[in-house]
Symmetry: C2
Subunit: 202 residues, 2 copies
């Protein structure tokens, strides 16, 4: 059976859990937490040299890292990856936007404020920078979602990737009330068939 | 004709230039530099709300942002994207690794040390963090390249993306001599037919 190494309260790990739930793919979930240092232990680094979760391990032992790469792999040939070439490219665009311009601020600020082991990194300067850049990312999303119900054609991996940390942005001190199109999109994502919450496990 | 909005000394912008040169795709290059603030001016932000380069504009006016999304779009159906499903997923994995674990340290340290407008951000702490994390990324690459000539099957978009800033990592104060497998891979990338240097323009 497919194995997912992941962390319960990580949005990056929620992404493949949500897509596998929707696709009905059975998998074994193995908790590997950065809170306890498990992602940096030798037996895990032997599996993923970049020492991060999530990590997907196939039946035959082959392994794939990077949450959004796992989404693209699992979505191939399904309704979660646009069949039109340009819409598919837009899905790629938003996946890279999520990892470069969104997660490092919105997810990181949530971690700084809520993960005890990150408390010493939560300097006033760091909190100000992540707030400013996270709001910039939400503004870019707001502009897109005011013009389009989803990021790249219909509901796709781009929506799954951006939902993962946006839906919990309040924990990072972001005010989603200032982004009505984003707030309406969160509800559309939750209404898509087979949606499961972040704490769902197989 | 296709237009590429980009910045001459940006590795992210070099990626699509290199791939379009290899594919023989004619394009118009429009210089939009963050040095001069051009990426933040209203007429450019109207084209890319995330205010970054590169940006690809097709004949019909449709636009695509994010360097690695542009690579995936252009590479579809060519030798630069693996035809095997799992190797293609590995290419995705390394593209996301590049944007999350490599570029923010190796490219950013080069910018801190060589771009005049970034000099005030080049604090000792920032230089130490980017050095440590950049070396971690190079170590992950070294381990992969000691076992495989390229990142995902044959030469692919993953190699183009990782070459862009790795080949100039010395400008960021990284010692590539400590990474023999990476150094040998740089030469293999440069030997691939149709290679052009970073300052090449159509």
């Amino acid at each position: 059976m497919t194995t997912l190494y992941g962390m319960a309260d990580s949005g990056n790990c929620y992404k493949p859990r949500l897509l596998m739930a929707k696709l009905g793919i059975p998998f074994t979930n193995v908790e590997v937490s950065s809170h306890t240092g498990d992602t940096r232990k030798p037996d895990y680094v032997a599996k993923n040299p970049n020492a991060m979760v999530p990590l997907l391990e196939l039946d035959d032992g082959r392994r794939l890292a990077e949450s959004n790469a796992i989404l693209l792999y699992l979505a191939e040939g399904t309704r979660f990856l646009p069949s039109d070439r340009f819409e598919r490219a837009l899905a790629y665009q938003w996946l890279f936007f999520e990892q470069y311009s969104h997660e490092p601020y919105i997810a990181v600020r949530r971690a700084l404020l809520t993960f005890p082991e990150r408390a010493r990194d939560a300097t006033p300067e760091r909190l100000a920078t992540t707030l400013e850049r996270g709001n910039k990312a939400l503004g870019v999303m707001e502009q897109r979602l005011a013009a389009s119900p989803f990021f790249a054609g219909g509901y796709s991996v781009a929506d799954i990737a951006l939902y993962a940390y946006t839906h919990d942005a309040g924990a990072g001190g972001f005010d989603l009330g200032a982004y009505p199109a984003v707030s309406a999109w969160l509800k559309r994502v939750e209404a898509d068939p087979g949606h499961v919450p972040m704490d769902w496990l197989p």
